[in-house]
């Protein structure tokens, strides 16, 4: 079996699992699936930007924006679930492409810090406009706009599935090579006839829209939002941890990583959660050691194993940083 068929199979299995659990699963399976799908979508969205060489330290900006768009459009304008989500999708795409235009040619750490600043800036705005956002006191989604548990959970599963399909389509098309060239050297990519700004706008619009959509669905799911939650650095960090843990710049990496992150997070929280401080300590240590000893992520580690086991099989493509 070659990698391609294997990838397709894996994708199909994941799709079936995440789409069937909201229908058949027990409450706790539904809960785990919801959180996993949320992280899958965020991780894939983060990985999309990363694969074009754009490290985002501000994914919480999109996430929080989407959340507030949902709360405001439902509470103030009375928009139903799907329309609110489309609004948050559009807001994320606009903000993403706007940020791409503003940051222009910034790269690497400079770009990363601009996104961090954008997220913190949005948080300050949310804190300082209590008339609109409820300020630090927070705002509740009007309960009459809650579309029901099944719709919300299915919405998140669909969001994750569609995000994965988009990423898959991109990995099959020529755009994929443009991104790889941009990641390696944007200047050189430009000389090859790739116009980076165009691609940057596109990729950040897609990535921003996805993260914002996740924020929107999470706002429906949680029903409450305040600036510290919406623009929490934790969102940014977990959406990076998942791809890193799974295997950055790959298609399946963020998905594997998201499952692993949720699993590790729950395991430490449930088994060590009664001792103060320990659950996040363990999480931090796992992060440190997985970066030191699993630099290609779980996917890379598994590929190594795979190659050693089957010497006759065709060489698996390794992810290149």
């Amino acid at each position: 079996m070659n990698t391609r068929t294997f990838g397709l199979l894996l994708g199909a299995v994941v799709l079936i699992v995440i789409l069937s659990i909201p229908v058949f699963g027990s409450p706790s399976a539904v809960d785990i699936t919801f959180r996993t799908c949320s992280l899958i979508a965020l991780a894939v969205s983060w990985n999309l930007m990363a694969s074009a060489g754009l490290i985002s330290l501000g994914h919480s900006a999109f996430f929080g924006l989407g959340g507030y768009v949902v709360i405001l459009s439902a509470n103030l304008l009375g928009m139903p679930f799907w329309i609110s989500l489309i609004a948050s999708l559009a807001a994320g795409a606009l903000f993403g492409s706007g940020l791409a235009l503003i940051t222009g040619r910034l790269r690497g750490i400079y770009f990363a810090i601009t996104t961090l600043a954008a997220s913190e800036g949005l948080r300050v705005i949310a804190v300082m406009l209590p008339a609109l956002t409820g300020g630090a006191k927070g705002a509740f989604l009007d309960a009459k706009y809650y579309p029901g548990t099944f719709t919300v959970n299915m919405g998140m599963s669909l969001a994750a599935a569609v995000t994965c399909l988009i990423a898959w389509r991109m990995s099959q098309s020529r755009i994929h090579y443009a991104f790889r060239a941009m990641r390696a050297n944007e200047g050189a990519a430009q000389m090859l006839g790739i116009y980076p700004l165009k691609f940057r706008c596109a990729i950040m619009a897609v990535s921003g829209a996805v993260a914002s959509l996740v924020g929107g669905i999470e706002a429906f799911h949680g029903g409450y939002l305040d600036p510290a939650i919406a623009f929490d650095l934790h969102i940014t960090i977990t959406s990076q941890i998942a791809p890193i843990l799974g295997g950055i710049y790959t298609l399946s990496g963020p998905i594997i990583g998201a499952v692993a992150t949720v699993f590790i997070g729950d395991a430490t929280r449930l088994s060590l959660g009664h001792i103060e401080g320990v659950s996040l300590l363990v999480f931090g240590l796992i992060l440190v050691f997985s970066i030191l000893y699993l630099p290609q992520g779980i996917r890379g580690g598994l590929s190594d194993l795979w190659r050693r086991r089957s010497a006759t099989a065709e060489p698996t493509k390794m992810a290149k940083p």
């Binding site: 990363a50 490290i55 330290l57 503003i102 940051t103 222009g104 910034l106 790269r107 690497g108 750490i109 400079y110 990363a112 810090i113 601009t114 961090l116 600043a117 954008a118 913190e120 800036g121 300050v124 705005i125 804190v127 300082m128 650095l233 960090i237 990076q240 941890i241 890193i244 950055i248 001792i275 103060e276 401080g277 320990v278 996040l280 300590l281 999480f283 931090g284 240590l285 796992i286 992060l287 440190v288 970066i291 030191l292 630099p295 940083p321």
Partner: protein, 291 residues
Amino acid sequence: MDLLPQVFSDALLLAGLYTLMAVGLSLGFGVLRIINFAQGEMIMLGAYGAFWGLTLLGVDPIISLPVLVVAGFALGWLIFRGFVAKVLDAPHINQILLTFGLALAIQHIAIILWSGNARSATTAYATESAFVGDVLVVYSRLIAFAIATIMVVALIAWLRWSETGRATRAVAENRAAAALMGIDVDRIYAMSFGVSCALSVATGVVVSFILTITPFMGFPMLIKSIAIVILGGLGSIAGTVIGAFVLAFSETFVSYYVPDGAGWAEGIAFLLIIGILILRPRGILGQTVET
């Protein structure tokens, strides 16, 4: 009453504190090209060190400063050897996440050891002050300013005139060339990481009697330090000093003169970052660096 002299005095004293806070990050960033997300936790550890020194041993933070700075250097050295050295050539994102993981772990070790309760060192001078004309000068902030000035001047002198300092600057400018000149790049890295941690520990000692000490105090200070370093320009200590002054003066002016300004003041840092990165990505005094 004319507020302007008070505004200037407040801003100046705050700028001193900000300079000390950011200069450690600036050094580490400039030499190793790594944003150390655990830098804020070094500040936190320094603050706890000073607090426990005072509470358990009755040693004034200013007296324990030298000991803690040396300890901070040693800790930095160890962290470099144990963790950071292994990701020097890895992608930025791995470095960011590694140091972030360390930060998370250190924070929660602090919670386990010392609980999440907020604390503050209660020295006598922490709440004393004097009026100079119309201007109120708070002693604790004056002391902080003095210590910051001494530390930053010492750092600049070390970088300029000592053998290792010059080697450090050479590595910061061009690692490959420095290695060719026979400089032990690895040792310089460990050294600068240690010094950068030591400076943050010093910051912690200074703020232990001014601010509130909690296991989470580091992160907001890290964010502000990043803003200052970016503002001043990567790899330039002088730039960092200017960045700190720009930020402290603009925050203080906004707090005094804009309605609800104290709330918006935090946004200034982020506005400045975005502005400066778009208009002049190198910062005020930074060198050209491909990152």
